[in-house]
Symmetry: C2
Subunit: 144 residues, 2 copies
């Protein structure tokens, strides 16, 4: 797993939108400026998120993008898979993007990387946008 700029911008944009008032639309230009992202690149990303059912949009004067799914239902894992592909460190231990790679026959190496994949997948599948925007004190899973 390797986060790219595209994937990081997508996460940041979602976090931004999750923090807005429900049913409020935010313009691309605004999000881009506030988060310091290239606006046209961000637009590309928001459109992908829209096509995948995360965002709704409105054209014209008070238009923009808004979140249409509950932030509690959006995991980091699915967003990263959408933009950056496999969570696994190598395709031969990936569930969603499996492909054989050179190490596939070395069972003990595979086991090590599978353990890593499992940890990453578990962590990112259990972390939602809501967790990310929650104030420090309320974060679920935080030490008591």
């Amino acid at each position: 797993m390797k986060l790219t700029a595209r994937g990081e911008y997508a996460l940041l944009a979602l976090v931004y939108l999750a923090r807005q008032k429900k049913n409020e639309y935010s313009r691309v230009e605004t999000i881009a400026k506030e988060q310091g992202m290239p606006p046209q690149f961000l637009e590309q990303i928001l459109l992908t998120l829209k096509r995948s059912g995360y965002l709704g949009s409105l054209k014209g004067h008070h238009g923009g993008y808004r979140l249409v799914r509950a932030s509690e239902q959006i995991t980091l894992a699915e967003v990263i898979r959408l933009f950056d592909g496999a969570l696994a460190p190598t395709a031969s231990v990936s569930r969603y993007f499996y492909e054989p790679t050179p190490i596939r026959k070395e069972a003990s190496l595979v086991r090590v990387f599978r353990d890593i994949r499992d940890f990453i997948a578990d962590k990112l599948e259990k972390t939602t946008l809501a967790d990310v925007i929650a104030p420090e004190a309320e974060r679920s899973g935080a030490a008591v």
Copy 2:
């Protein structure tokens, strides 16, 4: 962290050499054939490993490469860092390859990825070549 063909070949070659008799030299052609790797690409990799002090070599008739460091002292982490760079999923949580990336200001995202980085680094720094070549039963950390 993302394993590339280069990194996977490096690990496999080291595993291969760690299994050979001490002080025995293996030819590039032999390793390449047995492991199904492109010989000239493998050569490039073995030379990098030699320059980094993992291997020794001998020219001529009974020449080849051999391991010169104890397999217990070679961790997967260092090999992967040498060929594929950072273990972290993004440079902004990397210790050895730090660079600021877009998510750096979103503390709770950073925390998630730092946890992932820590797990990967811990696992790969604790796993040595010797662990990889050990027969199933003796593997340290295996369930009793």
